[in-house]
């Protein structure tokens, strides 16, 4: 019974997306279908986390075909945590959408596309076959392309072209890397690759494959210097879509990178580690420099996505178990906080009518609740104790000091300072100062404040009681770095012999 748990986070959104598309003519029913599906998916993902909490690694083969030829879904702690957080985020986005989504957007197909995105995200987190990972990335890409152009405004079409071309380029590179990997090893199953790759002699094809993976997932995750599609497109979409993109899309790229570079390739050899370290530092710095000059709230937050991805990459650059644990903690913290900040930006837009900070103001007096709800994720992003961001930054900086990469820690702390600058800029412009035209702020509906408050409570809970999540991250990092557990979970069950072409 336990291993069917792996299927539900993918099958339920599939059924929901199909129903929502078939009920194209009934928008109200679509919303009920989507909410029910996401509630059920979130429940299933909670059961999944519960099942892997003790350390068991669940596997499930599809269609009755045995690995390594059949496609297998695998869940360890890291994957299960990702599935839970993304389902929670999707649920919050749907609740927010009850207050913010317009009829025209629903008629353009928001709900089927959104559920399609969740199929891809959950599938990418759970799959154990590297070609299947490519398929889920493509499902996500198609769904996001539809979501970005939902309103068909000119800015959206402009942003969509840049997003589409660069992300397509990255998935085709990913496919190339998978093709080369298959040619060199003869298998596509991740655990089988983890067994076969150390025995394959190093060749130019394998080095090229590793670099292509880094490049492809780097474009997807938003590394320096490949992140320029992100600030060009994320702010054009409607705010719910931006929030879900910010919380999920880049993290799937980061997750895939972690899987490839802990399971298949080592980060510990000569050139890869300094390269990833330099990329991480550049990502952190240039993300936050880009944010410092923006006036649009969404663009500031988009640049901050990039700089926080740099922190997560810092964990991979140091590659000790503590650093990987810090990275896992950071991913979970960041998904919650970044989506929350985008939701707050949506609430600011509802209250003042604009995303431009020069045209907003006076929200502190008009809605002190919103001010507090902004302060929690903003201070958490900057890393102020006792919020979750402080513990995340602490783990990552501590790991880089212990891993003898103190310069990375210095960059991380400096970037934290600039993050405070950005967050205080938003605070001063949107909340503190008077509105430039002395216009009264419109009330924000409660259904928009509920998900913001829920995510804020999670941030506070992680911040005041970090120990369970820290322990969980440590265990997750252990199972990430220790390939034998994953391989044992596969080869404990039935399998067929691998074949080299």
């Amino acid at each position: 019974m336990f291993d069917t748990l792996l299927l539900w986070p993918v099958i339920l959104p599939l059924a929901g997306a199909a129903l929502a598309a078939a009920l194209h003519a009934f928008p109200a029913v679509q919303r009920q279908v989507a909410l029910t599906t996401m509630v059920l998916t979130f429940g299933a993902s909670l059961f999944l986390v519960d099942a892997v909490m003790e350390g068991a690694i669940l596997t499930k083969a599809f269609g009755g075909w045995m690995p390594p030829f059949g496609i297998v879904f695998v869940a360890d702690r890291f994957s299960a945590a990702m599935v839970v957080i993304s389902s929670l985020l999707a649920l919050c986005a749907l609740v927010f959408a009850m207050g913010d989504l317009r009829q025209r957007q629903v008629r353009s197909g928001f709900y089927p596309l959104f559920l399609g995105l969740m199929i891809g995200v959950n599938g990418a987190f759970l799959t154990g076959d590297i070609f299947n990972l490519y398929v889920w990335f493509e499902v996500m890409l198609i769904a996001t392309l539809g979501l970005i152009t939902l309103d068909r405004t000119r800015a959206q079409i402009d942003g969509a072209i840049k997003y589409a071309v660069l992300n397509l380029f990255s998935t085709i590179l990913f496919l190339m890397a998978v093709g080369l990997l298959y040619g060199a090893t003869g298998t596509l199953n991740m655990a089988d690759l983890a067994v076969v790759l150390p025995q394959t002699e190093p060749s130019a094809a394998l080095t090229l494959t590793a670099m292509m993976f880094l490049l492809a997932f780097g474009i997807k995750a938003g590394f320096f210097p490949m992140f320029f599609w992100l600030p060009a497109s994320y702010h054009t979409a409607s705010i719910i879509v931006s929030a879900v993109f910010a919380g999920l899309l880049t993290k799937v790229g980061v997750y895939a990178l972690f899987r490839v570079f802990t399971l298949l390739f080592e980060v510990d050899n000569g050139t890869l580690k300094p390269l990833i370290a330099v990329i991480a530092a550049g990502t952190m710095l240039f993300g936050v420099f880009g944010a410092a000059i923006q006036w649009d709230v969404r663009r500031i937050l988009s640049f901050h996505i990039i700089s926080q991805i740099g922190y997560i990459m810092l964990g991979l650059a140091v590659a000790t178990p503590l650093a990987l644990a810090g990275a896992v903690f950071y991913i979970i913290h960041h998904i919650v906080v970044k989506a929350n900040l985008f939701f707050v930006a949506g609430a600011i837009h509802r209250a003042t009518g604009s995303f431009d900070l020069r045209k907003s103001g006076g929200l502190m007096k008009a809605s002190p609740l919103l001010a507090v709800l902004f302060a929690i994720p903003a201070l958490s992003l900057a890393g102020i104790p006792p919020l979750s961001g402080f513990w995340a930054k602490f783990m990552v900086v501590d790991a880089s000091f212990q891993g003898e990469a103190a310069w990375l820690a210095a960059v991380a702390l400096f970037v934290g300072l600039l993050t405070i600058f950005s967050m205080s800029k938003i605070w001063i412009e949107a909340f503190w100062k008077e509105h430039p035209r002395a216009v009264r702020a419109r009330p924000v509906p409660a259904v928009m404040l509920v998900p913001i408050a829920a995510l804020g409570i999670i941030t506070l809970a992680i911040g005041f009681n970090p120990e369970p999540l820290v322990a969980f991250s440590n265990l997750a990092a252990e199972s990430m770095g220790d390939r034998t557990q994953l391989i044992g979970a596969f080869y404990g069950g039935e399998h067929t012999a691998g074949v080299t072409p």
């Binding site: 070609f131 152009t149 072209i161 380029f169 085709i172 093709g179 040619g183 923006q294 800029k425």
Partner: protein
């Protein structure tokens, strides 16, 4: 035979990257199509080229008696073709829509999402 195909794949990649670094949307589209085809050919070549029969097991047997062609790269390429076809169709409509709405094909003139004349950051408080 494989080196010849490998060189051909390289040529396809060169063409694709040259097209994708162009200014015009339609050329970028063509580049994406050629790149997709190049990668499909790469997967085909990396499955090794053999002169074998199609991978179908004769009736009544459980396993093939003679060497058969490798079916896995064929399955990968089929999936990749389907996906890249749907992408190409979407990009075509998107490019056409962009030409209609933004009245230009030149991506340098598409500055709606990131305007060129963005105002200066706050210089003081």
């Amino acid at each position: 035979m494989e080196p010849v195909l490998a060189i051909f794949v390289g040529l396809l990649f060169t063409t694709a990257i040259y097209l994708m670094t162009s200014r015009h949307t339609i050329r970028i589209l063509m580049g994406v199509a050629v790149l997709g085809n190049g990668v499909n050919l790469l997967i085909f070549t990396s499955g090794r080229l053999t002169r074998d029969v199609p991978p179908i097991i004769p009736a009544g047997l459980d396993a093939p008696l003679i060497p058969i062609a490798n079916p896995l790269p064929q399955a990968l390429i089929l999936t990749a073709i389907v996906i890249s076809f749907s992408f190409f169709a979407f990009l075509l409509v998107l490019g056409f829509r962009a030409y209609q709405e933004l009245a230009t094909d030149d991506s340098r003139d598409m500055r709606l999402a990131e305007p060129a004349d963005d105002p200066l950051p706050p210089l003081g408080y």
